[in-house]
Symmetry: C2
């Protein structure tokens, strides 16, 4: 296996190689689609199960809607079709015949779900409806990048309908908060959150909230979004109900989603020159045990005995633990492989360790210490917790150091383009000023609830709120 | 809500109405596709999590492969494309342009997975590969029926590659055994299993094992299949590896799957005139608690206190329990609704019950008894277990009573056509005799490991093995 490209100087190459070498994915023969291999899928399953628990705990139910949607459905909401038309994959033939109406492979499911909402919502008693699906969607991408931007991707899409505007707005913010908790406390990724600008919001939404993270190359990544759809789709799909006063009203809708892009974020925020670095809460393997002995020696049985004893104890405690007992590989080759795969803790157990009633505990950040067998279980648990926190703090420090404040785009633009980072500045919210950011390959990422800046970064007119601008994936 | 059609005389109508009334599904605007509603999806999630655990325990890893497959891939294996061509949905346009090569929406994923196997399998050390994906597939159906036969359906598809024929054959039987365990011990559905005939096997396989169940209308339902693909696909995809002797060899492949059809099977095997009857191990709600009181009375608080106490105790024990405290519905309407939805146990708690320190436990089969609050938790757990077993025994009895033996098709054919049931008979294995079954709308379901019959059901020539014939979904 060849060495990884330099993460400091060749970040995109480093990314492309590390995701293949660590076997998260492989190149697919289908343009823009990816294959998620067992190690990558196990990582996704862990993220998914945390998010699924949050979705259910907040009162949502999982469902499944059709993959194929009549083209006419998408056309009912003007902004929606305008936004998605260039990215659609279209089924024109099926069962050996040309279809009367083409079917699009869903790029998102608002339209078909709202069509059904219109059937289901007749009275205020039918509300709220709070559903979610874990699904695959297709958006034809011109410049696909594994996990970050692929033609097919996996996601959850939540869709809700409410009797009042207040309730819908609360829902949008509740799910945004759950997403931020997922990012901070599980993915160990600090984020900045707020509203998207008009030009960056979801096609058909009134408001889109985003949460964005900073990658190690200084680019921002949109991690997920929560949309206040207002009544646009409700009107487009003729979704009326009788409210408590007996009047006909349109429900207030929301939708929100996170995707397999989160895998890319974890790689790009935590990885280092040796490979992936995975937060313990989502790592497919939290602890790898490497027995070290010469075959056929007396020590062999003793080492293997201790190895399986430690393995069983950790397993019982719910630790995701793996023994690498491949006899065709040297311990050094194993260290290399599991570092590449980002396993948080490695336990080395050799004859001398057994004699001393200890194991050597090495974490993925390079800290190494002998731990007595008597306290190994508690120590591993404690170290996993600390490791999780350290990753978050490290990422937070990086974000803080790369969070700049700038008054004039003409002044901070060149640095932004060259070195990246998040730039907090003022904005009048005129799209014509927003377009100026393109000169530096940047865009508005999210509006802040702050107003430290008085004037717009470009035109100098009064700023409405501060905004984060950055180069982005 | 209108009464369900008579299950004895109008089984198909009963089925179509019960799945909508119990809110497992709803009709979709997309031809042949279904919408799985929260209650149906929760049932599927329970089935899925049991099967997923089995798949992982037997050493398989979950993955994700692309939805869209180049048309040319399917053509590499002649039988495969012949079998699937009439059912394909084809994407011809994407991103606003006509595609150079059309992409089919996967009807199954052997071809794209085997394409990758050819990249991954270079040496015997790369084997076995044992992967699985939970995915949606599309097969254009002319006569769709919800859950049983839909254009889009959900399934798991396992795909494995082995260095030896023996190992692949063992794999095929191991997964068949896991499926039978799923059917018997979780779905409470007795099955008969064995090889499919040549004409009924999977396109491209050397052997297909099936497991089949009997529905209450006397028709058989194929519940799932496990295929020994032999080396056909390996040759089609040029999948060669160096074996332990250093020679080039083709790996031996298998694939196996079960689908959302299992939901239909559960409905059709256990349901009754009042609606669904769900096995506790997969029921989304195992116990529903119905508080009974007059609003504003002293009794109200006492009843609600007991209700929440019982709820909490059951929840802690891991029971899937729900309180129906809808104040707009009468207890009678609630009884009706939860019977329709097939909840195994209902607990009624009224003022008199609280006085007597008891609750009224009613199971979905109609057994009713007061249970002291002191032993309610143990009693519910015990009753759920018994209920699960009773459903299996009841279905087993029905299957045994409908399992007939017949020597000559001309004699048993009319009864088979009229009353349904499974017919065990002898068969020479000539496809020309198999075709005769069509006269009675029947087909061979599976070959048995028995030879009770000496002669073929049609031509009278020597029988090779016994076979089960039946009308089928």
């Amino acid at each position: 296996m060849k060495k990884l490209p330099d993460i400091k100087t060749h970040f995109p190459d480093w990314y492309n190689q590390v995701i293949y070498d660590a076997q998260l994915t492989d190149q697919s023969p289908v343009r823009g689609s990816i294959i998620i291999r067992p190690y990558g899928y196990a990582l996704w399953e862990n993220i998914k199960s945390i998010m699924d628990e949050k979705i259910k705990r907040t009162g949502h139910h999982n469902v499944a809607f059709p993959l194929l949607i009549p083209e006419s459905f998408l056309k009912r909401e003007a902004d929606h079709i305008e936004g998605f038309a260039p990215e659609l994959a279209v089924v024109t033939h099926a069962g050996g015949k040309k279809l009367e109406e083409p079917l699009v492979v869903r790029p998102t499911s608002e339209t078909i779900i709202h069509y059904m909402f219109a059937k289901w919502i007749k009275s205020w008693r039918d509300l709220p409806i709070k559903i979610n699906q874990w699904a695959n969607v297709i958006r034809w991408e011109l410049r696909p990048r594994p996990f970050l931007r692929t033609t097919e991707f996996f996601w959850q899409e939540g869709h809700t309908a409410h009797a009042t505007k207040d309730e819908a707005q609360t829902e949008v913010l509740t799910m945004l908060k759950e997403y931020i908790d997922l990012a901070h406390n599980y993915l160990a990724i600090p984020v900045v959150s707020g509203l998207k600008s008009e030009s960056e919001k979801f096609p058909g939404a009134e408001k889109t909230y985003t949460f964005e993270a900073l990658m190690q190359d200084g680019k921002a990544l949109q991690m997920g979004t929560s949309h206040f759809l207002s009544q646009n789709f409700a009107k487009a799909f003729n979704m009326q109900f009788q409210n408590e006063k007996g009047e006909l009203a349109y429900p207030w809708l929301t939708s929100w989603g996170v995707t397999t892009r989160l895998i890319g974020a974890v790689v790009m925020v935590h990885g280092d020159q040796k490979g992936l670095v995975l937060p313990p809460k989502i790592a497919p393997i939290q602890v790898v045990i490497i027995p070290i002995f010469k075959s056929g020696t007396d020590a062999q049985n003793k080492v293997l005995g201790t190895v399986s004893e430690v393995f069983e104890k950790l397993k019982v405690k719910g630790v995701r633990v793996h023994i690498d007992d491949d006899r065709h590989k040297t311990p050094g080759a194993k260290f290399y492989e599991w570092e590449l795969k980002g396993v948080p803790i490695r336990l080395e157990i050799g004859p001398k360790d057994v004699e001393k009633n200890q194991v050597m505990m090495v974490d993925r950040l390079g800290n190494k210490m002998p731990v007595s067998l008597d306290v190994i279980i508690a120590n591993v648990a404690h170290r996993l917790e600390e490791f999780q926190n350290e990753l978050f703090k490290r990422a937070q420090k990086n974000m803080q150091e790369s969070w700049h404040k700038g008054e004039k785009l003409a002044q901070f633009g060149p640095d932004l383009e060259k070195k990246g980072g998040l730039y907090q500045t003022g904005w009048c919210q005129d799209p014509n000023c927003e377009i100026e950011l393109k000169k530096y390959k940047a865009s508005t990422r999210c509006l802040l609830d702050k107003a430290e800046f008085k004037a717009c970064f470009h035109c100098g007119k009064p700023s409405k709120t501060d905004v984060i601008v950055a180069r982005a994936y």
